[in-house]
């Protein structure tokens, strides 16, 4: 069995790539995909620690994260569809009505 550090390190790298995606991409849908990547990176750390401590709780938490992510994706994508219908764009730089 590999040291848990490998898995946690990979999880950190994937999380940072997701955060980078949120920062550099300007398309709402791609930003949303990057958030999903961050959630999955956290899930990997959960499963790795569940394996290390030999407890089911980590995997149960991953299950809950998946349920919450499903709800989040449904609501988020319907919000994106609503924004696109109102503004005809999904580029965050064009959605600046609240800018002072």
């Amino acid at each position: 069995m590999l040291p848990i550090t490998y898995y946690v390190g990979l999880s950190a790298v994937l999380f940072i790539m997701g955060a980078l995606g949120v920062l550099i991409r300007r398309n709402l849908i791609v930003i949303f995909m990057s958030v999903e990547l961050m959630l999955n990176a956290a899930n990997l750390a959960f499963v790795a620690f569940a394996r290390y401590y030999q407890t089911m709780s980590g995997q149960v938490f991953v299950f809950f994260v998946m349920a919450v992510a499903a709800a989040e994706v449904a609501v988020g994508l319907s919000l994106i569809v609503a924004i696109y219908r109102a503004r005809r764009t999904v580029n965050v730089d064009d959605l600046s009505e609240m800018k002072g």
Binding site: G9, L20, V30, M33
Partner: protein
Amino acid sequence: MTLDVILFFILALIAVASAAGMLLSKNAVHAALFLVVNFATLAVFYLILGGPFISMAQITVYTGAIMVLFLFVIMLLGVEKLRGEDKFPWQIPTAVVLAVALLIEAGYFLFFRRVPVDMSGTASLPETFGGPQAIGSTLFTQYALPVEIAGVLLLVAMVGVIVMTKWNEE
């Protein structure tokens, strides 16, 4: 042991490369497909880490339901071509600097602050670890209330989505 290491690094390479592909692709459909590859790789990791049920749930929920929903919305809106130009030229360098700082911080805490924990002593797992039966009995005894709350949350999300789409059609 060496086989484990080789397998881990091949899978990690696929995961990181597909995440990078998602970050860099100019087409939203390609980004979604890269993310599907990434999620499938994570499902294999879950299988290695002794979570067969979570692994299958990852395949069905993430690569199945969630990414299909993403692709559906991309094609519904017809926004697969992404614009290249940026309004703020300093944005990407700043983001990269921040990400590298975060990576250095994470690496410091992972490799220098704490002694790396070794899993060699925990090689053997119980036969049923991570199976549907073990997950189910934990879910419905120890975590019964969170299961109910998650159910209510999914119901509220469903109702919310329906209300938002209806409201837009008026």
